[in-house]
């Protein structure tokens, strides 16, 4: 039995399934909206009566037209059980057939063959209609009828011919309307299933349509797709298609042209465009040794890494708590005074950018020793001055958290700075992760190994400050911003990118299966939260904020919308602003109070709390003789980052279910806050790697979630007074409890962020803190003769 098969579209393999689904959807769209369909429906109605359904949707019936002597009526009867549903050419005169009228199904009638003028079988009526519709170019109705017949009545004579004509005619019509991929698929189907059907015409059609398609790819510089298409057509049709031969020749010429262009640009020192041209060349003929050599030569002369980023940076801060891109790029450009190196058993381990740092045994003094090599360019007094200025409320660099613990800064020798603290402090150096500008020094000792060279709309370029000392070490990093994670992943797969800075958790799982891509995770997770920032009186009420929490099904948002997994290693719900670590033995979890359980999804309780808040506000307003405050739409701001946007949209939808009206605004690109945008809540992604000091950076006077809550402020002051780690843990866990009680921020989840690296780049550490942490070890892998490119 022959089945009507859907055309196989000639698309790159990874897209085919999606395109088929898309095609079906398109067909559905056509079915529902097409005026042709409307017309066909009306025609069917004309045939079967105004109130009747199309034939294929009616219960099967045959139609008997009586001759004039018998009354001339047409009667619908149940299908007659004829052998093979074939009507004998001359039935025996006087014989009768037993029929069941559809109008009287409980009775049987006999009709003499002689009284029958015409007997129309159900399937033939449909066949006739299909033929008619094909002539009328109503392909939708024709397709429906044809499909029905092939499923139910495949033995009808002429059905196969009708199918071939349908395919051919519809292909011609689609070609005329510019739907080339559909035309190609249809003609291929026709050619394969009916090679004898007008072979010249079909091959001619295939030639024309493939030519148009490849031209479209080339015009879009999508050489990979063009090449894939040519390869497939050559495999399927050998050399029967002249267009394939012509395009192969053209592509070869184009590859040569790209090669020339690449070489020329390389010689001119325009390595960025040279690389682009060589990538195009490689995408046309990836296996060509000469092409690989040009590509390698460009990389040898100017090793370059292209990094896809989901968040672009508008500022640079290597120690930023809440600005992921600022921290990422900041690490390239500059060094903080003190740098977080890794987590340790008791807090993090820190390094002094200019030498060594020592914390005294009584924990009341810090000694910073400058490297002897800096002796000529930098003196301790300049650094000490910078440290001291942070304690001066009148100074632009004033840091209240630091001022609260520092007592004196002295310079006992030209290379030594001594900081006396007001009281013992377990980790004062964690507060010294400052960007420093020492105006009096000719060269800034805090400069990172790269400098920013240019920044166009979607690209930020950074170049090495000093000539490289190591072969194949990247001397230029180009960050390309993507607002669509899918296209970033596609570009990584295509070889346009070497690194993807952040992966949508669900993409990470998918990419992990690709042998040419290495998916890594960052050493420490990020903590996500909503921070109330406005004076909106409802939001200032703790019960209202708790209602927001009870109305948010964080578990399902995290697992279903963001992670696509339920593994707690990928992410988990948290009850406070601190990371919970992987388990209680994780040193990062020292601040997390596991006795505080995350607020559960309880929409009923949320509604109850909202009701209570409303009542309370109304009573207060009445008492004061003031109007009752009106609720308004809560505005939730989110950085221009897909994950955050998905999360916020999901939360807003859930809030709507309990009657909380909210909307999302997206902050300008590269910003994590914006004074020019009005919003009530801010989606914050924080790198809370040192809870002891990061909580101060979060809730403190200069923090993004600076709190007016006296309980939080007091808890911060108490934390500052902690003299040992036992007290630190106790106070932090108390702080966690207080945050859960009073919700100065709405904690959401922690996520283990991931990145992806192509095999063309080596040297990324297994679990870096930030992407560029060990950029000095990065090396470009050159293509070898047997290297198969990712295309």
């Amino acid at each position: 039995m022959m089945a009507l098969r859907f055309p196989r579209f000639l698309q790159p393999v990874r897209c085919r399934a999606a395109l088929i689904v898309g095609m079906c959807l398109l067909l559905c769209q056509i079915l529902s909206d097409s005026p042709v369909l409307a017309q066909s429906k009306s025609n069917a109605s004309a045939t079967a009566g105004a109130s009747e359904l199309p034939l294929i949707d009616q219960p099967p019936f045959d139609l008997i037209r009586l001759n004039d002597a018998a009354g001339g009526r047409a009667v619908k009867i149940a299908p007659i059980p004829l052998p093979n549903r074939m009507i004998k050419p001359s039935p025996v005169a006087g014989k009768k057939i037993e029929v069941i009228l559809l109008s009287h199904e409980d009775r049987r009638y006999e009709i003499a063959w002689s009284d029958i003028a015409q007997l129309e079988l159900y399937e033939l009526m449909i066949y006739d209609e299909a033929v008619r519709k094909l002539k009328e170019k109503d392909f939708v109705t024709a397709f429906q009828n044809l499909s029905f017949l092939m499923r139910k009545y495949p033995e009808i004579v002429g059905l196969e011919r009708l199918r071939e004509e349908f395919l051919f005619n519809s292909a011609m019509t689609m070609f005329a309307s510019g739907r080339f991929t559909q035309t190609l698929a249809t003609l291929e189907e026709l050619y394969k299933t009916a090679p004898g059907y007008q072979p010249d015409s079909v091959l001619n059609g295939l030639n024309r349509v493939s030519d148009s398609i490849i031209k479209q790819y080339i015009d879009k510089n999508d050489f990979i797709s063009a090449r894939a298409m040519l390869e497939r057509l050559r495999n399927d049709f050998s050399d029967k298609l002249s267009s394939v031969r012509a395009w192969r020749a053209k592509l070869q010429s184009l590859a040569a042209q790209k090669k020339q262009e690449a070489v020329k640009l390389m010689e001119a020192g325009d390595y960025r465009n040279a690389r682009r041209a060589s990538l195009a060349m490689l995408s046309i003929f990836p296996a060509e040794a000469e092409a690989k050599e040009v590509f390698n030569e460009i990389n040898r002369r100017h090793p370059m890494v292209r990094v896809g980023v989901m968040q672009s940076s508008s500022e640079l801060d290597p120690a930023s708590l809440t600005n992921w891109p600022a921290r990422r790029c900041g690490a390239l450009i500059e060094k903080p005074l003190v740098e977080f190196l890794e987590t340790g058993a008791e807090g993090g381990r820190y390094g002094f950018s200019l030498g060594l740092i020592r914390h005294s045994d009584d924990r009341q003094e810090l000694t910073l020793e400058l490297e002897p090599s800096l002796a000529g360019s930098l003196d301790a007094f300049t650094v000490a001055q910078s440290i001291f200025q942070r304690t001066d409320p009148q100074h632009a660099d004033y840091d209240p958290s630091w001022a609260a613990i520092a007592h004196t800064v002295s310079v006992p020798s030209p290379t030594t700075i001594r900081v006396r603290l007001q009281r013992p402090n377990v980790l004062p150096q964690a507060l010294m992760q400052w960007k420093c500008q020492l105006a009096s020094t000719p060269t800034n000792p805090f400069d990172g190994s790269f400098r920013q060279v240019d920044s166009v709309e979607n690209e930020n370029a950074f170049q090495l400050r000093q000539p490289p000392t190591e072969r194949d070490a990247p001397i230029e990093i180009i960050e390309i911003f993507y607002d669509d994670p899918k296209s970033a992943v596609n570009d990584l797969l295509k070889g346009e990118l070497e690194v993807l800075d952040q992966l949508f958790p669900a993409d990470a799982t998918r990419l992990a299966n690709n042998a040419k891509i290495q998916v890594g995770s960052y050493a420490l997770p990020t903590v996500h939260m909503l921070v109330p920032v406005s004076e909106y009186e409802f939001l200032a009420d703790q019960r209202f904020r708790r209602a927001l929490m009870y109305a948010s099904d964080r578990e399902s948002i995290l697992n279903e919308e963001l992670l696509g997994s339920t593994s707690s290693n990928d992410g988990r719900i948290i009850s406070g602003p601190f990371p919970s670590g992987i388990d209680s033995s994780d040193p990062l979890s020292y601040a997390y109070n596991s006795a505080v359980k995350p607020i559960e999804f309880e929409p009923r309780l949320s509604k109850l709390l909202l009701f209570m808040v409303d009542q309370d506000f109304a009573e207060k307003a009445e008492k004061l003789g003031k109007p009752v405050p009106q609720k308004r739409k809560i505005v939730v701001a989110t950085p221009d980052f897909e994950l955050a946007q998905v999360a916020v949209q999901a939360i807003i939808q859930q809030w709507a279910l309990v009657g909380i009206d909210a909307e999302m605004v997206i902050l300008p690109r590269g910003k994590v806050t914006d004074i020019n945008t009005q919003y009530d809540l801010l989606y914050v992604t924080a790198s809370m790697w040192e809870p002891l000091t990061d909580i101060e950076r979060l809730f403190g006077e200069q923090g993004i979630a600076r709190s007016n809550n006296p309980y939080i402020i007091q808890a911060l002051a108490r934390l500052r007074s902690a003299r040992n780690w036992r007290e630190v843990r106790t106070y932090l866990q108390d702080m966690h409890q207080l945050v859960d009680y009073h919700l100065p921020v709405l904690p959401l989840w922690q996520i283990a962020d991931r990145f992806a690296v192509a095999s063309s780049l080596a040297g990324l550490s297994d679990k870096p803190l930030t992407l560029y942490q060990n950029i000095a070890a990065w090396r470009i892998n050159h293509l070898t003769a047997d290297t198969v490119t990712r295309q």
Binding site: P400, A403, E535, D541, L608, N709, Q714, L738, Y741
Partner: protein, 710 residues
């Protein structure tokens, strides 16, 4: 309508003028040239000394200087008329260095440090009985003095014109002085080892000899000690030249109260206007003085110095309604030597009505009974008009008894003195510091009498007191609202009442009455809203609110739900004010946890009731399994016992004094918070609601089973 500032009624003026001349006549008859030895306060003009120093760059001859001094004197006379008896002269040379450094650097110790005094050894027979200058002149044959000081003394005597009596005394002193070859320090050593029994040495040196020596006042008219006794106000005026022109700095020393005012500067680019400029600076630096006659808790009756001599409201010595005054207390010992000289902290009065001499004032104080206290002849309560010079004041809140320990995170509110509206200003930072700008000050006040009457009327009509605002504000701005049954309304600050809120004070007598308790303040009755004309009593004559002439703010310092202090303050009067308040740390810490716990209780109650209602509905709908499931959900919630145990544990933790003792007042408040929470638990959670529902359902099922079927 009576206008409170209308004081120039002809009859009043006539009485005043007559009284003045009667006084003058009486003085002439008595033949006492020192007319104001027994002064009538309101008819005694201020005795004013103006000392002017010119920058070295301003070269002028003696004649020009004399002319300028005369011109300044005339200007001042024209401004103050009879209210001032002023003498203007060049500043004595011993103050040259002080003028050079700038007047703002001068404190009283700096003023007197270069001045000389007679120092006698305590144990010397020769000096044993000497207590006064006159006795010293009589009994001592010689007084040692260094050559340097003798030269300065002789020169000053020659240059300083004074009255005959003083001149004679100075002459006598000089005749007794014997120049010693030694330096002042050597003379001091001689005094200490009794080789010298009497010597004249600078105060900076004599201060070190206080144990073995006694000082005697020298009536040298160019010295500050003389001014303290003989003058009411001294103005130090410095004229300096800058590229922008001439700058005149003036600073007042109130002599009886020994209080230095702020430096007031004026400038002119034309030297011809220098005398006007000096006058303006002095007028700006001058603080009219009033004496407290009667004090109530919230009001005072005052009497204006030289008020009877002021004929014109434009006179700078006049006090207008709306002028803000700061009380200063002087208490003398039996010898008339002041033992206490101090502005009353956190206390100000605002003139609400004046007839030119008698003033009515509203009193705003953070201290209970600030102006009250023992009345006697040796205690003076003087009020001086404030002269704010800055745009803001920093307030530093510290723990009483430990200035090093800041109270961070306290929310500061400003209450409008007329409308009584509250406005959150901000919170203290990690240093316990908050900057309060002048614009937070009130613009107007209501005379207390009217405010009280309105409050009574408001109470009668049942209007809500504006106290509740602070609770509301704190909810929105300080983000402190608790989910539980908040007792915030119990602890909100009330308006001034019988004594108002207590606050810290520097002096010992006040420190016992420091800041309020939260619940205590709730019981205080204050005036209700005065901003509603509707509640104004009909019989009360309409009187508009009085515009404040200086920026007075009434601040409340709140820690969590507890009001720590009520602090009236003239903003910009000083750059920094330190408020020493009882430590609230432990109570606040307990409140943080208890409020959170109360929130949990509230949510638990809500869940229980919601599930109970749901189960009843399901039962009524004959969905028995689902009803039972709802009951199971109730059982799965935290029980009363669990919550009570958790509360008990929390209480133990909060009252733990192992490392840090808890002040008794805080402890009581913590206990009270826990008690309230415990009562809530008992009231709402003790009942086994799940069991009760089951019983109800069983009974209902039994009843329906026993009903005979039709």
């Amino acid at each position: 309508m009576i206008n409170c500032s209308s004081v120039d009624l002809p009859i009043v003026r006539a009485i005043r003028v007559s009284a003045f001349f009667l006084m003058l006549l009486a003085a002439m008859i008595s033949g006492n040239s020192h007319v104001f030895g027994q002064q009538v306060w309101e008819f005694a003009p201020y005795r004013v000394q103006v000392w002017i120093a010119f920058d070295a760059s301003l070269q002028s001859d003696d004649e020009s200087q004399v002319r300028l001094l005369g011109s300044i004197n005339n200007q001042l006379h024209a401004a103050f008329r009879a209210a001032w008896s002023v003498d203007t002269r060049l500043a004595p040379h011993h103050l040259d260095s002080l003028y050079a450094r700038g007047l703002h650097t001068a404190g009283l110790p700096e003023l007197v440090s270069n001045e000389i005094e007679l120092v006698l050894h305590k144990d010397s027979e020769e000096t044993d009985a000497i207590r006064t200058f006159e006795a010293a002149l009589e009994r001592l044959d010689a007084i040692a003095i260094s050559t340097r000081e003798l030269t300065k003394l002789t020169e000053a005597k020659k240059n300083w014109r004074t009255d005959a009596k003083t001149q004679e005394l100075v002459e006598k002193l000089c005749s007794k002085c014997v120049a010693d070859k030694g330096t002042d320090n050597e003379l001091a050593i001689g005094l200490e080892n009794k080789s010298i029994s009497a010597a004249i040495i600078p105060r900076a040196i004599s201060r070190k000899l206080e144990k073995s020596t006694r000082s005697v006042f020298l009536p040298l008219p160019w010295q500050t000690e003389f001014l303290y006794r003989e003058v009411d106000k001294t103005f130090f005026v410095a004229v300096r030249e800058t590229i922008d022109g001439l700058i005149v700095d003036a600073r007042e020393l109130d002599c009886p109260m020994r209080l230095l005012g702020p430096v007031i500067s004026r400038s002119t680019s034309d030297p011809a206007f220098l005398s006007y400029c000096v006058r303006d600076a002095i007028v700006g630096a001058f603080a009219p003085v009033a004496r407290a006659e009667q004090f109530e808790t919230r009001t005072a009756k005052l009497r204006l110095r030289a008020g009877g001599l002021i004929m014109d409201q434009a006179n700078p010595a006049f006090l207008h309604p709306g002028d803000v005054l700061q009380p200063v207390i002087r208490r003398d010992d039996r010898n008339g030597v002041p033992s206490l000289l101090e502005p009353l902290p956190w206390t100000f009065a605002v003139v609400t009505r004046t007839d030119g001499i008698k003033l009515d004032a509203n009193v705003y104080s953070g201290i209970r009974g600030a102006l009250q206290g023992q009345r006697n002849n040796r205690t003076q309560r003087i009020l001086m008009r404030v002269r704010p010079t800055a745009d803001a004041t920093n307030i530093k809140v510290v723990v009483k008894g430990n200035n090093e320990l800041p109270q961070s995170g306290c929310t500061v509110f400003a209450r409008d003195l007329a409308s009584e509206d509250l406005k959150s200003i901000g919170r203290t930072d990690w240093r316990g510091m908050i900057n309060v700008a002048s614009h937070h000050a009130s613009n107007r006040i209501i005379p207390d009498q009217i405010a009280q009457a309105r409050a009574k009327d408001a109470a009668a009509t049942g209007s809500s007191p504006p106290d509740s605002q602070i609770d509301n504000k704190s909810q929105s701005s300080a983000d402190t609202s608790g989910a539980g049954a908040s007792n915030a309304t119990q602890s909100t600050p009330t308006k001034e009442s019988n004594g108002g809120q207590k606050t810290s004070a520097k002096n010992a007598e006040q420190t016992d009455e420091l800041a309020t308790g939260d619940a205590d303040s709730a019981s205080e009755q204050g005036p209700a809203s005065v901003s509603k004309p509707a509640v104004q009593p009909a019989e009360q004559p309409f009187q508009p609110a009085i515009e404040l002439r200086q920026p007075l703010a009434l601040l409340y310092v709140k820690s969590g739900d507890n009001v720590l202090a009520r602090l009236p303050l003239v903003l910009g009067l000083t750059k920094l004010e330190v408020a020493e308040l009882p430590s609230d740390t432990r109570r606040l810490e307990a409140e943080a946890f208890v409020k959170g716990f109360q929130g949990e209780v509230l949510e638990l109650i809500g869940m229980r009731n919601m599930l109970a209602a749901r189960s009843r509905k399901l039962f009524a709908d004959k969905k028995l399994d689902e009803a039972r499931a709802a009951i199971s959900q109730i059982r799965a919630l935290r029980s009363y016992t669990e919550m009570a145990d958790a509360l008990e544990t929390l209480q133990r933790k909060m009252l733990d004094e192992t490392n840090d003792p808890i002040p008794l007042a805080s402890k009581n408040r913590i206990d009270r918070m826990f008690q309230v929470t415990r009562e809530s638990l008992q009231k709402y959670l003790q009942e086994d609601i799940a069991r009760k529902l089951e019983v109800q359902f069983e009974q209902a099922a039994t009843q329906s089973a026993s009903v005979p079927q039709p």
